[in-house]
Symmetry: C2
Subunit: 451 residues, 2 copies
Amino acid sequence: MLERHRHHDVIVIGAGFAGLGATRDLLRAGASVQLLEARGRVGGRAFTRYLSDGTQLDLGGQWIGPTQELILELVEHYGVETYPTPRIGDPVVDMGGERLTSPPAEVDALLEDIDLLALQVTPERPWDAPEARAWDQQTFASWLVGTEYSETTIRYVARIVSGGLLAGAPSEASLLETLFYIASAGGIRPLLGYEGGAQQTRITGGAQIVAEHMASDLPPGVLRLNEPVTSVEYGSTDARVTTTTHAYTADRVIVALPPTLAARLRFDPALPPLNDGALQRTPAGSALKVHAIHSEPFWRDQGLSGVSTSATGVLTETVDNTPPGGPSAVLTGFVYGEEAVLLRARPLEERRRIVLERMADLFGDRARSPEDYVEFDWMGEQWTRGCFSGHMVPGTTVTFGPALRTPVEVVHWAGTETATRWNGYFDGALSSGRRAAAEVRASLDDQVSEE
Amino acid sequence: MLERHRHHDVIVIGAGFAGLGATRDLLRAGASVQLLEARGRVGGRAFTRYLSDGTQLDLGGQWIGPTQELILELVEHYGVETYPTPRIGDPVVDMGGERLTSPPAEVDALLEDIDLLALQVTPERPWDAPEARAWDQQTFASWLVGTEYSETTIRYVARIVSGGLLAGAPSEASLLETLFYIASAGGIRPLLGYEGGAQQTRITGGAQIVAEHMASDLPPGVLRLNEPVTSVEYGSTDARVTTTTHAYTADRVIVALPPTLAARLRFDPALPPLNDGALQRTPAGSALKVHAIHSEPFWRDQGLSGVSTSATGVLTETVDNTPPGGPSAVLTGFVYGEEAVLLRARPLEERRRIVLERMADLFGDRARSPEDYVEFDWMGEQWTRGCFSGHMVPGTTVTFGPALRTPVEVVHWAGTETATRWNGYFDGALSSGRRAAAEVRASLDDQVSEE
């Protein structure tokens, strides 16, 4: 028999930023909450490891930036130290043959065009955009091909937008979904930028630290780790949530998981068609993040910042991920879309060789011989199944889109994929948790006034 | 403690046509097999109900046709009676304003264009088609819009191909995935046709009867109903499969489920990235099938066959589903894509009103007042989650496609979504089961010769 627990006001499933944020809000409002996490740690897609010499390595999300008010508030609240993303020297912009230190004017013009379209999309209701249906029916790739820009510019922009932002190929999201994502961050410049943008700031000790602070703040017993939820039996007044080891009951449930994991819970009764359909149509991204560990940031000696973006090659982007004071230097690369799929099909040794070869193209021969090489594939992680985040597939934002955050009886939905501000980011996760907590509080208040 | 069972050569998960076929093949080859089914019945997406007066109502798949050799073989083997799909009178082709009895020449020309492209796709390897990448990067909708045909022709073809065949919107599958599907059936004519095509023949007593014959043929104990599988622990030599009530072990496992259900099993270790990514990117179709029950097939009195296809309106297709001898007459409608999503958001009474109103447009006022109205939404079914079948989303056939049937250690994949012949049909399910059984037999033979 499964051990039973006392009845709670709310059960929150998933202790990433969305679930932790929702729990925090609900506890402050006086609700009793049980927060259930499958892993032995909190933080979800924020996951920091340390090399044997103590060097911080963020294997998942790692950046915060201006206008991400909820995460910035937490960083300040907990007195977490931050540092500016190191950019000592020039970036490399490889346009395929042509090597520059900033993107050509044509790239800016195309980004500007995209930004202007994104202004027509209200992130709360992308399906109401004037040309929503037409924009949802074509892939971002098709739209790009239809522009007047050069093939190289198109390829470069496809890679940094669909890869660098949505963690996929430009054919895997519609123009509408891409514009929605951009609109949710307030434009393409805040998304792509370092100073003044989403890559401005890093967290000393790693992004996971903020989640750990949030967890430490919880009263004893609220958070239970190592408890994968297997089923959610729900009705119009309460729910029973079963994990691999325990059973819990509550008035309300918040599912704060990536959609592909939410779909894998066994709901009883089965989720309504539109809700299940929406979860099926929001696969997780397929980015690969790889780290070359060096004794020193040798690229700086050549006047290079370690930051690169490329129209070609296996690595769409690289960045100097060296923490201040090291001890080791870290050159991190990002692989997206088709390249990520092709790379995954190779054995580790070959993947390493291919990645380091490209790093050597960009930063010279020393890049070929790091002290260590670390990769981490979120798509292989049982309790994540892809990163950075999930996006609705073409043709579905206008139809199944609203169902992604429509409550089902007492079940509510959080997670950065449901966010309308900074969708896909820590900040989006937090705002989704806040929204779900507010929904739940309103429903609990209704209940009290009815009693 | 879960009850344990003796070790088997093979465990097959799912007793639809794929799983039943694989089990049959393996038993004939002398293997010991345990077939596990979540439902209290076999047949998967073949599900027949009977009205109180005995009228047969196929709520899922219902047709068989020429070149579907495996299902035809079974029908003959079991002596199952069949009947030609009733088409007594003229069809209605509603081009939106213009009402015809056969599609205009422009429709034939566009279908011919599609067919010619499909000839360039080898169903076993769609990713090797000459323009595979370009075709996968655009939705079928985008390709259609780029043709020279009239808006009405495009809308009509989009609805009968993407809706009628792939059970979705033309934006939900790429041009490549659509061509692959067509190629797997040997062309668009066999797919769309009645006489000589996939809608030629119906099964007396319902399609589920064939699956029931296959189940009756199994030695006692092979099939276990009402046992939803929850987890599959696997390695390089054997596997342990746990259901809600029992645990089983075997040398090999065949997962014969739609991809969205396969993704929901808990695999230990977690599935490799490409396999899980492929399952995430193959959502189930979203067709709605609705039945109006009348005392007689009144449309025949007006010289109408009950068969209709429309460029507009909630029903893309209707068909006379009256079994020979009745007793009741059945007019069945199909709703796809955006219309299916919009309809699902309405309450039952309104859905019924909208559907019957459209039937009255097509077949006269009597259609507005049936004796009964029956709908069945496979997307709401816990153990299916959508119909007719799943299709890879745009941009993923060339990348994640091969992983859909790549074995993982001792785990093999069946189900009509993995078929290269009549993908999406009963026959495809059977051929996928045959292929998976052959893979397993080869591996078991290897094992024997190594011992």
